[in-house]
Amino acid sequence: MSNGAHPLRKILLYIDGSESAITAAQFAIAIAKSYESELRAIYVVNEDLLDELLKVKIFVQMEKMDYERDLEEDGKRYLNYIVKIADRKGFKVETILRKGVVHEEVSREVDEYGCDLLIQGELGEVLSLRDSFYEEGERILRKVKCPVMIVRGSDKIEKKYNEM
């Protein structure tokens, strides 16, 4: 936990480009603004997955690099969007884009940033036990060493957020 009596000085928001990540962002902005916490948003380019597809020969090297650039651009776009919606509420959000194994990079950022809380969107639908081993939200939940808040209920949150 970061220094001081305030329990939520630093909040990390994990986004992946999904709609539920937007809901999580709205909730994170609302909480951070209320508690006057620092808020940092993180997106991770899933390099691990790209490497796996290269290994099984689905991708050729050039194509893998092309997709990596695409995913990086996607990530920047998502992060900029979070900055923009926070700005509309008069709140500043820091952003960070990492590359690698998603849950490991998020965990590393949790440690390095020293956050008091990680916020992420509703977990992806896990259709099977097999699937759960690959669902990044689940893996993050298991890996990080800090409290994690999973944000559900998009309609309710959007309504509250718009009233802010």
Binding site: N46, E52, L53, K57, I58, M62, Y67, L71, D74, R130
Partner: protein, 154 residues
């Protein structure tokens, strides 16, 4: 990402007629014209053939996953084809390919495309899954098999 949300019976052809790689790809692209609101089938065909020239997407165990990005689609589009006789797709193991998953993604969003490819790669490793697809008599049986694989029943 749920794979079955991107397919319907109109995207599936059980008896592919093509005997060559380019013919099969053309048949699969044709499936997308109506079902996926494709604006320019020739552009997609060129993109897929161009990608194949970089290296075949024919994998082992009779499966091929031709794919490309194109502005001619505005969402991830998937077509599935099955060839009973098999086609020389220049596969890694040198054997004929029977199961084809064509995936076309819009150029401005690669995330779902990468996830869909990764998901099908996982499914095709399951022997019973491939076997179910090869035995399918109706497109719906293909969808059912994919759904079963997604929920871990296969």
């Amino acid at each position: 990402m749920k794979f079955t949300e991107h397919i319907d019976p109109g995207n599936i052809k059980l008896g592919l007629e093509g005997q060559r790689k380019d013919e099969v790809i053309e048949e699969l692209v044709e499936l997308l014209v109506e079902s996926c609101n494709v604006s320019d089938a020739d552009t997609i065909l060129d993109a897929v053939l161009s990608r194949e020239r970089e290296g075949s997407t024919g994998l082992e165990k009779g499966v091929a996953i031709p794919h490309a990005k194109s502005d001619a689609v505005n969402k991830l589009c998937i077509a599935i084809g099955i060839s009973k006789d098999g086609v020389d797709f220049e596969a890694l193991d040198g054997k004929s390919s029977h199961l084809f998953f064509l995936m076309i993604a819009p150029t401005n969003e690669s995330g779902p495309h990468v996830q869909a490819i990764a998901k099908i790669v996982k499914m095709i490793k399951i022997d019973r899954f491939r076997s179910k697809l090869l035995k399918a008599n109706q497109p719906q049986e293909v969808i059912d098999a994919i759904e079963s694989a997604e929920i871990g029943e296969i």
